[in-house]
């Protein structure tokens, strides 16, 4: 059996399984509390995510968790709930910068760096590839003695070290 045939069959089987299991997804009610609780920081000074603060005697995290549950019970959407916290505790209560105003720069820069880096790397790779090869004029010359030993050393370096 040809390797390409096996590879193609493998891909078919994989895609079929993905399609079958795609229909089996189900939602989770507590996921929202969990998701929002991980977007907020505890403000007691422990520098931890709200749902992960276990600071002994923390006077904030229990109250904040209660406020989060109350916000969800009021039927507020996620943005409004988070906004309530920002109003009460300031912008540092959010565990990550918002995607608005200057804060957008925080999100854009890494991707900008990726694009710039990729472009530069591709440019370098193409430029290096275009450099002319160092070929002996008039074709391949027979080598012997010191040259042969040098080439052998180079080949060993290329394949071993």
């Amino acid at each position: 059996m040809k390797p390409t045939f096996i590879l193609r069959r493998g891909l078919h089987v994989g895609l079929l399984c993905l399609a079958v299991f795609a229909l089996l997804g189900a939602g989770d009610e507590s996921a929202r509390f969990n998701s929002l609780g991980h977007k907020l920081m505890c403000v007691c000074g422990c520098n931890q995510i709200l749902l992960e603060c276990n600071h002994v005697g923390c006077t904030y995290s229990d109250r904040m968790r209660g406020e989060l549950i109350a916000g969800l019970d009021r039927g507020e959407n996620d943005d409004l709930t988070l906004q309530d916290f920002v109003q009460k505790y300031g912008p540092t209560v959010l565990a990550a910068p918002t995607a608005t105003g200057f804060n957008r720069v925080a999100w854009v820069m890494p991707f900008l760096a990726l694009v710039l880096g990729l472009t530069t790397t591709i440019f370098i790779v193409l430029a290096w590839r275009k450099r002319p090869a160092l070929a002996a004029p008039g074709g391949v010359l027979p080598v012997s003695g010191m040259d042969l030993e040098r080439f052998r050393t180079q080949a060993r370096k290329d394949t071993e070290g």
Binding site: P3, G14, H38, Q48, N54, F102, T159, G161
Partner: protein
């Protein structure tokens, strides 16, 4: 005692200044007598180590003698502190840890100066540079953060005690490992700058540097993960990595150091990336110092940071001076660093290393950016923002996945050129295996379309499988070729294979370790936790475990008072263990601490914390976490360290044999 320490530090500063000046003079003006002058500089460097060592011994002895006339001992120790933590006092505070830094730098310098015959001139240059860095730390110790400063007024009867978070066995080894990593990067930097100053011809210096970098990298890896393990075992929030600025500070030089360890091969084998490697070494050293600046200046808030102090300004100047010095010599002396070779194919080991470097540096930039953005925001908008785990998870994880893909593909690519046919042939079985892992995970209930975290987990699992299978296939393929020639069994052949090229196969083992670590990390989205007030006989169920509170009690000793619960753990009807989550209250420091208890298995960790007593009912509140696959992280790290050690062992001598009449095909994917 304190006078001995103070005098030793002052003398060490004078000697390191002599080592720097005399060494520099001997190198700058070669002539009669310069060799002897250089030798005195080398010996002064060795003597500096002896004096800093003496100062460290004095500080530790003072801790053991409860000499609270020394302010540092008063603030970081107390009479009832157990002996190992009295020893750890050396690196528990600002001044002591700077002394420890200086001590390690002296020790690295000692090794380098004793091995100076390897390449006398290069080592002499490096020795001078190390002396320059040592001067900075000794200036700090003598004038800004003096570890032997004395208490004023009436002497206290007892010390303020060590921070409870540091009273954990791992804290006796985590900081030394981390510091060995941080400080160790001074040596590659010294070699690089030395080579730049002397326009070092050839690649010998890079081979010397590479070994030092591997050792340092292994220490830093060990330190970073010991820190993660300490956080997991002590902080009690159930996680091991919180993207805290101090954690980030340790990750940045690790990332650039990793990039260097890959790109250095391009220089050794193809004479490429010479300038790039210079900057990578410098960036790694610089980021190690920058991290120290971040944690000690107080400009960034962190649970791990030292208290705000005046030494931030010193670090700022040092960072600027090193940057200016390196930049000056780079632009003055870079003519000998031009690349010698061209790229023959896009599908080659060279290309993969270029992209590997891009991604590692991008990851480093992301971490640096995230760490500094709160300050940038404050400067621009007038208010700070938090850059926490949600930011890094969104930005860094895709980069990490791409890196993992390259880790899998890279070893299959040959130097210069790889044919698509051979790539397909070598890649097919690992790719099918990775696909099977993906299908299996979906079958087990992972729904990548429900949550981005599950999608990442699925991708990470498939790519980790790809890396693992690629490494395995490389070993098996090479082992089979050797087995055919020697008649050894496959396992012996694979050992033989490794011994013929330890760096290459050691590197593969490190890659395998990375894959195992990733498997451990991908369990995170599936973490569960529950919290319950538990009286006698109360039950709580989490995952397959039922926790029954047998009792709760308290105790008292000289160092701390404590409360703990006795929790019987059942799986089905069978009791599998008893766990004792605990909370302590340290008397000297007047600080509480939770001590989680962890039951680790290959499948998952059951992690219990004693959150405190309900003041109304008097019953303990227990929080249980079920964290899948965490053990894989620690096992993966051991594999990584093991791989690095195996990579450091010299190759077996090549055996010359007569060429066979018929040439056997070489193992595919040949090349480092």
């Amino acid at each position: 005692m304190s006078q001995i320490g103070s005098f030793a530090l002052l003398l060490a500063l004078a000697l390191s200044a002599y080592s720097f000046l005399a060494g520099a003079l001997a190198l700058a003006r070669p002539g009669p007598g310069s060799e002897r002058l250089g030798e005195t500089a080398r010996r002064a460097g060795i003597a500096t180590f002896a004096l800093v060592f003496l100062a460290a011994v004095v500080l530790v002895t003072s801790a053991f003698q409860d000499d609270f006339s020394i302010a540092y001992i008063y603030h970081h120790s107390n009479r009832d502190l157990p002996a190992p933590y009295k020893f750890a006092t050396l690196w528990s505070g600002q001044e002591g840890s700077l002394l420890f830094w200086s001590l390690l730098l002296g020790a690295y310098g000692l090794v380098l100066r004793l091995r100076h015959r390897t390449d006398t001139r290069l080592f002499a240059h490096s020795s001078v540079i190390i002396a320059g860095v040592q001067i900075f730390f000794l200036l700090l110790l003598n004038f800004a953060a003096h570890p032997f400063a004395l208490m004023t007024g009436t002497l206290p009867a007892d010390g303020a005690g060590l921070n409870p978070l540091l009273q954990y066995p791992e804290m006796v080894i985590h900081p030394p490992m981390l510091y060995l990593g941080y400080v160790g990067f001074t040596i590659p930097f010294a070699f690089a700058l030395g080579a730049l100053i002397m326009r070092y011809p050839g690649e010998k210096w890079i081979r010397i540097t590479r070994r030092w970098t591997m050792v340092t990298w292994a220490f830093l890896t060990c330190g970073v993960f010991l820190g993660a393990h300490w956080a997991y075992s002590v902080l009690g929030w159930g996680g091991y990595w919180g993207w805290d600025p101090v954690e980030n500070a340790s990750l940045m030089p690790w990332l650039t150091g990793t990039a260097f360890l890959h790109s250095v091969m391009m220089q050794e084998k193809r004479g490429m990336l010479k300038m790039w490697n210079m900057w990578l070494i410098f960036a790694t050293f610089w980021l190690a110092i920058l991290g120290t600046f971040l944690t000690r200046s107080g400009i960034i808030s962190s649970v791990h940071a030292f208290a705000q102090s005046s030494i931030g300004g010193w670090f700022k100047w040092f960072l600027l001076i090193t940057l200016a010095t390196f930049t000056f010599f780079f632009f003055k002396n870079n003519s000998h660093l031009r690349s010698e070779h061209k790229l023959e194919s896009l599908i080659s080991r060279e290309s993969s290393f270029l992209f590997n470097n891009l991604l590692l540096l991008l990851a480093c930039f992301t971490v640096l950016w995230g760490t500094w953005f709160p300050l940038i925001s404050e400067y621009v908008q007038g208010n700070k923002v938090t850059v926490g785990p949600p930011f890094y998870n969104k930005v860094a994880i895709p980069v990490a996945l791409l890196l993992l893909l390259l880790t899998a593909v890279g070893p299959l690519l040959a130097w210069r050129k790889t044919s698509l046919e051979s790539l397909k042939r070598n890649f097919m079985w690992p790719a099918l295996g990775a696909l099977a892992v993906g299908v299996l995970m979906i079958a087990l209930g992972v729904r990548p379309w429900n949550d981005i975290a599950y999608f990442y987990a699925l991708m990470a699992a498939m790519l980790a499988a790809l890396v693992g299978l690629t490494v395995l296939s490389e070993f098996i393929r090479g082992g089979r070729v050797i087995s055919r020639h020697t008649g050894q069994n496959l396992l012996a052949s694979m050992v033989h294979l490794w011994h013929r090229n330890t760096r290459r196969y050691g590197g593969y083992i490190v890659h395998f370790g990375v894959a195992v670590v990733i498997i451990g990390i991908l369990g995170t989205p599936f973490n569960q936790d529950k919290e319950k007030e538990m009286g006698y006989g109360d039950k709580m169920t989490i995952g397959p475990y039922t926790l029954v509170c047998e009792s709760y009690t308290q105790d008292d000793n000289a160092n701390y008072s404590n409360e703990w619960a006795i929790i019987n753990v059942f799986k089905g009807d069978k009791q599998i263990t008893t766990m004792y989550p605990e909370r302590r209250f340290y008397k000297a420091s007047q600080q509480p601490q939770t001590l989680p208890r962890i039951r680790s298995t290959v499948k998952e960790d059951l992690y219990l914390t004693y959150e405190g007593l309900n003041e109304t009912t008097g019953r303990p509140i227990i929080k249980a976490h079920l964290n899948p696959l965490v053990m894989w992280i620690w096992v993966g790290v051991l594999i990584m360290i093991g791989g690095t050690v195996l990579g450091l062992i010299p190759n077996a001598a090549p055996v010359r044999v007569a060429a066979p009449a018929r040439i056997e095909p070489a193992p595919a994917g040949a090349g480092d």
